[in-house]
Symmetry: C2
Subunit: 205 residues, 2 copies
């Protein structure tokens, strides 16, 4: 059974105890609403590490539109089943006020690259992403962290941030998993109408 | 003899090797031009840890005025003697391009408190301080880091940043050491004229 950890202190203690006995931690950060794309990350982490920790945290600081945050799909019990089926040992499931004790006054920011692509029409989006990733990595201190190539710009930025701040974690990029119609699997897809789906597929092929 | 390490990779490897054998690292970050204030930090670290690492890095990103950076006192060989006399085992002495492989595009920033006191007339000063401290702490992963209370606002900000990003390091604040005339010891004091000294003393008492 996947064990749920909400407390940051408890999570830190657990992870430090694995480090002490030289157990390698694989970490898969998610925002929940898990799908087959996430499952490939879990499977890979489970196969490559002694312990796998997934996190579910819908990070408010990376949403520009409060409606988007509000509508973000939440499927907690289904997620738990998926984690369990994939033999993920731990779920880190923190609360906002615990992960942001400073109320998001301290942040990681980047100036250049993130102002194009997603960054250009979602201002501050990537500051939120980078900040929460740094927090999660520091809590868990994983040996390896797994990210989907679907969010390519995000992946590149996280990669660069890890280098800029000399983090020890090994970053593993996993290929995008696509649906029957070619659309990249994404938690938000369940919010799309059939017409919108077709439009995205048309744009991408 | 104090061993000088310039390479970040070498420093990381050394520090990780101490962690593996459970040796506690004490870290004293400095900008060089060492004085008795720094010496109290070295002595305390040496007495409380298995290994002490000092760093000397005049961090350009925290200087607003290029003239101030250029004029910052440099007394490398005297510094080395002081480190040696205080039984500091290692000096981490990195180059700018190694510590900022990203050219300072990734930074830590804080919005509120740092806009008053020093922050108000040295815009971006504290972003530079926080960014370099995070980098240094991540390279060295010390058990304890030592700071002077002289830079009180800086100390508070570093404390808050460590909490916001869940760093494991224990922060130790050491009392300000003062000169014969009551002025706080500071590397920049050697740039003061006698009149300026008197003015500062007058302002503070």
């Amino acid at each position: 059974m996947t064990t749920i950890i909400q407390s940051i202190e408890e999570c830190k203690l657990l992870c430090r105890s694995f480090l002490t006995i030289n157990k390698k931690i694989g970490f898969v950060p998610t925002m929940g609403a898990l799908h087959q794309g996430h499952e490939t990350l879990f499977k890979r982490s489970v196969s490559e590490n002694d312990v796998t920790i997934a996190s579910i945290f819908v990070n408010p600081t990376q949403f520009n539109d409060p409606k988007d945050l509000e509508n973000y799909p939440k499927t907690f019990y289904k997620d738990l089943e998926i984690l369990n089926n994939n033999s993920v040992e731990y779920l880190f499931y923190p609360e906002y006020q615990d992960l942001y004790p400073d109320g998001y006054t301290f942040r990681v920011s980047k100036n250049k690259f993130s102002k194009i692509l997603c960054g250009s029409f979602r201002p501050n989006h990537f500051d939120g992403v980078l900040t929460v990733v740094l927090k999660l990595l520091n809590v868990i201190l994983p040996h390896r962290a797994y990210f989907g190539e679907k969010n390519y710009q995000q992946l590149k930025l996280i990669e660069q941030m890890c280098k800029a701040f000399f983090l020890d974690v090994e970053r593993i990029a996993c290929p995008t998993i696509r649906d029957y119609d070619g659309l990249a699997l994404s938690s938000r897809n369940i919010l799309l109408t059939m017409d919108e789906r077709k439009q995205f597929i048309f744009q991408n092929y």
